[in-house]
Symmetry: D2
Subunit: 109 residues, 4 copies
């Protein structure tokens, strides 16, 4: 029999559900579009499209990525962070630290 | 006798502690400096300093504000959100929604 | 015989050179990598990678896009905007307005 | 008699007009408001206002600063950069480099 400590249990639960799974197909569709946008920008440079039009597409792609990131973060807070908070202790602290660091990277990028 | 529902109890706890209180004097010192930076930029425009130098000071002020916001948010997650998550239910959902909305405003500003 | 007005002449010159052409292969390589990063993020969601790791990759992709945008903008200022400024008049105003609008979109995205 | 080289002449012209002077009183009024917003955030922390409300005010202040920065940059491009571009040579290159660096700092802050 395997003994699971609370910390492992949370990581495990988090690993299994990952918060965003309910919306997985929606995220996959958005990321497919984002990949297409990146390909489109590559083509614009290759075809020497006017710079300003390329910059407009880069801003649109950045906004789309930002939307995905904010969605994933919200799902992460709702599931993994809430679950870890309930267990409390070190596991909760680790999850909050991780989330805060990810938020700082998003705000600064 | 006053009856306190769990939701009110959390809001109350959150209102009392507010997470960041431990660091209050440090936040006040940073915000005093930020106010001074804003006053300095006003003076630079008044004295018709070279635009690029004013822009450099605006970027520095924006970064300082960003630092305060990320600190407050981290404290908020560590205290109010963790406390609400433990109580669970609607109160936890409200706190996560509020935090996600604040993060989105920071990322987009 | 075709008559070319100064405004058309600039647009034409801008259309031919497009500023960034000297670095075209370098931009194409960076955009190829960006497309690969977008594909990688799609795969991470599909394989249900831990959210925080996906967010880290999104921040890296956003930074890479930002680098391309700032490079294109610098090239645009150096070539199209400088050329239009020399001609002066309405054409210069249009180019500056376009550049300022593109900068505002980048700063806000 | 003082001999003024073209480079010095531009810097001088730029120093005198500074682009934004036409709107100086409007910039001063916006910066006065920004200073007041900074003071308000200091007071909110001092009075232990709810974190989320403080974050909302920080986002508003960041947006106000961004608006001033984009305005100053637009004025700078319209005047100093266009004037330097007309003179051409090293002076134009220096001004474009300076503007590009300022834009990069704004995008990244």
């Amino acid at each position: 029999m395997e003994i699971i400590t609370p910390a492992e249990a949370t990581t495990e639960a988090c690993h299994i559900t990952h918060g965003y799974i309910g919306d997985k197909s929606q995220y996959l569709a958005r990321l497919k579009r984002i990949e297409g946008q990146a390909r489109g920008i590559h083509r614009m440079v290759d075809e020497e499209t006017y710079c300003i039009d390329i910059l407009t597409q880069i801003s649109a792609l950045t906004k789309a990525l930002e939307g995905v990131a904010l969605g994933l973060l919200d799902d992460h807070l709702k599931h993994c962070v809430v679950d870890a908070a309930k267990l409390g202790g070190e596991q909760a602290e680790i999850k909050i630290k991780e989330a805060s660091d990810a938020i700082a990277r998003l705000v600064r990028s």
